[in-house]
């Protein structure tokens, strides 16, 4: 598990116990979800390239 307090301190952010618990919970869930990732799959991130028709306007 990640050390959230140290990570946050590096960013000069104070983490309360409640925040730490929430982050730990999310981290745990994400670890579990990694098994579902299709590593060949592109994430939903895209680069919007202007289309020629947009340039013409």
């Amino acid at each position: 598990m990640r050390d959230w307090i140290t990570t946050a301190a590096g960013l000069k952010i104070e983490i309360t116990e409640k925040m730490q618990k929430t982050l730990e919970g999310l981290d745990k869930n994400m670890l579990g979800l990694r098994g579902l990732i299709d590593w060949q799959e592109e994430p939903i991130l895209h680069c919007s390239v202007p289309q020629p028709e947009d340039d013409a306007e």
């Binding site: 952010i13 983490i15 869930n29 994400m30 994430p43």
Partner: protein
């Protein structure tokens, strides 16, 4: 007059039975009387409203008809930029922000002839569901002033429920249209991602923000959404789709041939018994109308919620990065905490969440090939009290914010349209909400199904008890 639905008011305006000026004055009178108790409006633009109403009446006399919103008094959530009218996003940070331009949704409402009564209250920066705003005070639920209206578009929902306006614009990043619709007993739609332009809406989560209407009935919402929707080159996520004809027919006799999915898992787990009963009753009404109810299993909602939460925490932290370090004191504690959490989540988690998000979209696409829509509760509980932080459901205690967003948040990550509508009332008289989730850009069918169920149940006829006395 303010007890009319938007559609009824539009018909009365067309028939010359009422003028826009009369409707507007009636709303302004009601705002003056009730807003001190509800705090639904942050800014009242009476002068603008009177001018726009006069113009609508002049246009109508000259034979012009801009459509069903022509002359209808509405309100805008205070995160939509309005030229010359302050736009706070419910925050101290933007307390004095007066934009020089209108958001796309404001423009479109004006072009449709709607009359702007003012700007509605909201949870600070749209980042929360209580509308217990540390800078502008708590918004109160018209069904019980001690309770929250839900959020973040709580002012809009409270205003519609109390008859202060006939429609309110809203935004939904993790349930912010649907939650207040559920808690205030009104109707709202989070359309498909990209159907309504976000241009000029102060952002929270770039890939999760949706713009949509809150009104009394499904048909009110349908005509409002039709006026808002459509391509906009100023919004990079805007879809090249129009939605001109969304209004369901007046009488829908049958839902024959419609398949409605009822999830066996997650969505009916750990919910208040009265909510469970009311939502199932709505499903049986749909069955009475000829729809086929299909019991099915859906992916674990907790996984989808994790994906949506990570996405929102990181995107909101990015939105607020320019301000949070130097102007921390201008943020309320709950919002500041969420932004700080987003700042420490590693970028790799965000990207993996987007991978998982695509996978979840594929699974739901398959599910929505088997059925036309899903029918679910909007919130597992009814409106909690102002200041309440925990709620007991089925013997377990849960954080109010997490409980409230548990059944709605995932559909923001999926980008699917979701129509939130009343499903009945508790024994104590508080509204219960349900949602219909449909296929991408399947708003027309979703609204038709919703209208049929609404016609068969009549929950929207009941009015909030708050009075001008």
């Amino acid at each position: 007059m303010t007890s009319m639905t938007l559609i009824e008011a539009a018909e009365a305006l067309r028939a010359g039975q009422v003028s826009s000026t009369e409707l507007t004055e009636e709303c302004l009178k009601r705002i003056e009387s009730l807003n001190p108790r509800l705090n639904a409006f942050l800014t009242i633009t009476a002068e603008i409203a009177r001018e726009q109403a006069l113009q609508a009446d002049r246009e109508r006399r000259s034979g012009m008809d801009r459509g069903p919103l022509h002359g209808i008094p509405i309100a805008h959530k205070d995160l939509f930029c309005t030229a010359g009218v302050r736009t706070t996003s419910g925050s101290k940070l933007f307390e004095n922000l007066v934009p020089k331009f209108d958001a796309a949704v404001v423009e479109r409402m004006r072009e449709a002839g709607a009359v702007m009564l003012g700007k509605t209250s909201m949870h600070e920066h749209a980042y929360g569901i209580t509308c217990d705003n540390p800078h502008f005070g708590a918004v109160h639920n018209p069904w019980d002033l001690a309770r929250i209206p839900g959020g973040s578009s709580g002012g809009a929902a409270a205003a519609v429920a109390a008859g202060l306006c006939l429609m309110g614009t809203g935004s939904d990043t993790g349930g912010s249209i649907r939650v207040p619709a559920s808690y205030c007993g009104v109707t709202g739609i989070k359309p498909t991602f990209g159907l309504v332009s976000k241009y000029g809406a102060l952002p929270l989560g770039f890939s999760l923000d949706h713009v949509g209407p809150i009104a009394r009935t499904v048909r009110d919402v349908a005509v409002s959404l039709a006026a808002m929707a459509g391509p906009d080159k100023r919004d990079p996520n805007s879809a090249r789709r129009h939605a001109d004809d969304l209004l369901p027919p007046k009488e829908i006799a049958s839902l024959a041939g419609v398949k409605i999915g009822i999830p066996e898992n997650f969505f009916f787990e750990r919910i208040d018994m009265q909510v469970d009963n009311a939502v199932h009753f709505m499903a049986y009404r749909a069955q009475d109308l000829g729809a086929e109810l299909v019991s099915l299993r859906v992916p674990d909602g907790r996984q989808l919620n994790t994906i949506a939460q990570i996405t929102l925490l990181v995107e909101a932290a990015a939105v607020h990065e320019p301000y949070i370090r130097k102007q921390r004191k201008l943020y309320g504690e709950d919002v500041r905490t969420l932004i700080d959490m987003g700042r420490v989540i590693p970028g790799v988690d965000y990207v993996q969440a987007q991978r998982l998000r695509r996978r979840a979209q594929d699974v739901f696409r398959m599910i929505l090939k088997q059925v036309d829509c899903l029918l679910l509760p909007t919130t597992p509980i009814t409106a909690p009290n102002i200041g309440q932080s925990e709620v007991a459901i089925g013997g377990e205690t849960e954080d109010v914010r997490m409980a409230t967003t548990r059944l709605v948040r995932g559909f923001n990550a999926l980008g699917l349209p979701s129509l939130a509508m009343p499903a009945g009332f508790t024994r104590g008289g508080m509204p219960i909400g349900m949602q219909l989730v449909g296929r991408p850009f399947g708003e027309k069918e979703l609204l038709r199904i919703g209208a049929a169920i609404e016609d068969a149940t009549g929950h929207t006829l009941r009015r909030a008890g708050v009075s001008t006395a």
